[in-house]
């Protein structure tokens, strides 16, 4: 019976694809990729609960709804106060130059719309090359409906003076699916910081299925910070796929506050020697929120370092999932890989599923993983209160410090205050 319902859900997406194609059509240079992706989606369908990496996250309720494909809309944003950035605005997934501020970009750096650059060699070479649409259902769906998105290019040796801030504005008045797409290409020796955040203007249910691909060239350095502040009607699947060349450095910082259901897929292929990969995450949930962080680090070459650190605070009936996998291939000797996940449960009904995993085929490596889930330290609370600090404030101080550990690692220091504000807000 369940099988039957699943099929119907997928058929609806396939039918939507047909309609979408006849109405809009995918621009010529992207249509091949789009067609391959929908064909693949038709074969693999949505992940079942049997699928180990989806074991604790049930997507049936969110994919079972009837959604409209996001249409064009008008909106404006003030961005984040006190933050000096180059702002690229996407409304319902479409690049909106008139709402963006990109005139101060340094030479060698460009932020363009995907639809306008689809024929460019950079897009043709890299788009769809790192985000695996053959195995990931949601990436396949995003790729099938590919129409627009952001293409950020940092040419060889160029450095961004200030971060590029991609702001997605989603304005919907009925249940909508929006599928942003971003390609970031940092050529050899380039360096850039990218911030991505979303502003939700609608009040009906929304499914956001975002795919971001990042190419980090030889000796290049990219920091990518994703700030996700959700409301109970927003569900999000994010797929971040990173490809690193030798001696490159990549850092991911994922902050997820609330939302209905969130699934953050992060995969990194370290395909060169002496790569450094840092994966930091903070997730806070309450109510019936569900936040799932699924990471995969693939060490294909020797002499690399990866360090992963995720922390979560869960209240009420919320659920957290951490599925972290590190793969060290046979010839990838002298790898240092570390994984840590710590979570605090604030209620008896909140749940955390934590599964760090190492899969090692090389014999000369240093790898470790650890996960702890517990309640707020009672002795610590007593200690703070014994110094006159009221109970509520003492709890807040401890939880803010717990979360602050991740915030302080975030590379854009001027964002820290805003991140602390979100933590405060979730604890109120």
């Amino acid at each position: 019976m369940a099988e039957l319902i699943d099929h119907r859900v997928e058929d609806r997406f396939l039918a939507a694809y047909e309609r979408y194609q006849s109405l809009n059509g995918t621009s010529e240079p992207l249509s091949d990729l789009s067609k391959k992706a929908i064909e693949r989606f038709a074969e693999i369908g949505f992940p079942a609960r049997k699928n180990e990496s989806w074991k604790y996250t049930n997507i049936t309720p969110i994919i079972g709804r009837t959604y409209q494909m996001a249409s064009t809309a008008r909106a404006a944003t003030k961005g984040i106060a006190g933050l000096t950035t180059h702002v690229a605005v996407f409304i319902n997934g479409r690049f909106t130059p008139e709402a963006s501020q990109l005139d101060q970009l340094p030479p060698g750096v460009s932020v363009k719309s995907l639809s306008a650059t689809a024929e460019h060699e950079l897009v043709q070479t890299h788009l769809g090359n790192y985000a695996d649409y053959t195995d990931e259902s949601f990436t396949a769906l995003n790729t099938a409906f590919l129409k627009d998105g952001a293409v950020i290019s940092i040419e060889s040796g160029c450095k961004l003076d200030h971060p590029v801030h991609i702001i997605h504005i989603v304005a919907n008045d009925e249940a909508t699916i929006v599928q942003p797409r971003t390609l970031i290409h940092a050529a050899d020796h380039a360096s850039a910081q990218i911030i991505q955040s979303t502003e939700f203007r609608g009040s009906t249910s929304l499914l956001m299925n975002a795919v971001t691909e990042i190419y980090v060239g030889n000796e290049a350095h990219v920091d990518f910070l994703d700030l996700q502040v959700g409301t109970p009607h927003v569900s999000r699947i994010t797929n971040l796929s990173v490809y690193q060349k030798s001696q490159s450095k990549f850092e991911s910082d994922v902050f997820t506050f609330g939302g209905e259901l969130t699934r953050n897929n992060l995969s990194i292929l370290a395909d060169g020697e002496n790569c450094e990969s840092l994966l930091h995450g903070l997730f806070m949930a309450r109510g019936n929120s569900h936040i799932d962080n699924n990471t995969f680090v693939d060490h294909a070459k020797p002499n690399c370092y990866s360090s992963e650190y995720y922390k979560g605070i869960l209240d009420h009936q919320s659920v957290g999932v951490f599925n972290g996998k590190v793969l060290v291939r046979e010839d990838a000797q002298l790898i240092n890989a570390y994984q840590t996940n710590r979570s605090i449960l604030l209620s008896d009904t909140a749940r955390m599923y934590s599964k760090p995993a190492l899969e090692i085929y090389a014999d000369d490596v240093k790898c470790s993983h650890g996960a702890t889930t517990g309640q707020l330290d009672k002795d610590g609370l007593f200690y703070l209160r014994s110094r006159g600090i009221p109970e509520e404030e003492a709890r807040r101080l401890m939880l803010t410090s717990f979360a602050g550990d991740i915030i302080e690692k975030a590379p854009v220091a001027s964002l820290h205050e805003l991140l602390y504000d979100h933590v405060e807000c979730m604890l109120r």
Binding site: G380, F382, Y383, S386, R387, S401
Partner: protein
């Protein structure tokens, strides 16, 4: 003389096991009382009950603090009213910055006293002044509360907090345990500088050693959950010479 603390017939238990079986004790302003006794006699339980540790159940008796019912107050309320406990085992708080912690603690207490909260600069000045008092390495302030501190540093940090919060009643729970002679001397020196006409001290210790440096006005011996003997500093010296068996034997006789 102004009374700070009046304990009458205090009984307390932990997990249904009676520990305190009727303690009577009065501490007046300006006095230093030493509480001594063998292991398991109830010394630290007394300190915990007075600080408001909820792991302990009060089964009877009264505790008046400055004329108010202390046992009715929450832990943090007691602290704001001026009761301070220097922990035997100070808690490590990873990630909680020492300055942030001090700011919240000091300003919670100040606010309760109707004083203006201190700004960052004023707090820093005060912390510097008080740290010097007990020879606390000021670099420790850069770290998380007690995290990675040595045993001696933790104990100094307790006395440093005492100095910052300026309590009316300071309870020191085996502050001397685990201290080498130099640390002991500087901690004791700090405590002596904090002795005032308005403040009362309850110093809980197993050994007489600390009392060479902090000379008490009164010494009480707890055994079996009761105060079995009280005297002046000479009592501590006698205990050191004759051991705790002496009071227990005498009591049994």
């Amino acid at each position: 003389m102004k009374s700070i603390l009046e304990i009458r017939g205090l009984k307390a238990s932990v997990e249904d096991m009676p520990i305190l079986r009727g303690i009577d004790l009065t501490v007046n302003a300006g006095e230093v009382h030493a509480i001594m006794g063998p292991n398991g006699s109830g010394k630290s339980t007394l300190a915990s009950v007075l600080a408001g540790n909820e792991d302990y159940e009060v089964d009877g008796g009264t505790v008046e603090y400055l004329g108010k019912d202390l046992l009715e107050m929450d832990v943090d309320e007691r602290a704001r009213e001026g009761v301070f406990l220097a922990f035997q085992y100070p808690i490590e708080l990873p990630g909680v910055s020492t300055m942030n912690f001090l700011k919240q603690a000091v300003n919670s207490v100040r606010e309760h006293r109707g004083q203006k909260p201190l700004g960052a600069a004023e707090l820093l000045r005060l912390a510097k002044e008080k740290a010097a008092l007990i020879e606390l390495d000021t670099r420790l302030k850069q770290r998380s509360v007690n995290q990675g501190f040595s045993g001696g540093e933790k104990k100094r940090n307790e006395i440093f907090q005492l100095a910052m919060l300026e309590p009316t009643l300071a309870i020191l729970d085996e502050t001397d345990s685990g201290l080498d002679i130099d640390a002991l001397r500087s901690v004791a020196n700090g405590v002596n500088l904090l002795r005032t006409q308005e403040r009362g001290f309850l110093i809980i210790t197993h050994y007489q050693r600390l009392l060479n440096y902090i000379v008490p006005d009164f010494v009480h011996v707890i055994a079996g959950g009761r105060i079995v003997r009280s005297g002046d500093k000479e009592l501590a010296l006698e205990l050191e010479k004759r051991g705790y068996d002496w009071v227990q034997e005498e009591l049994a006789a």
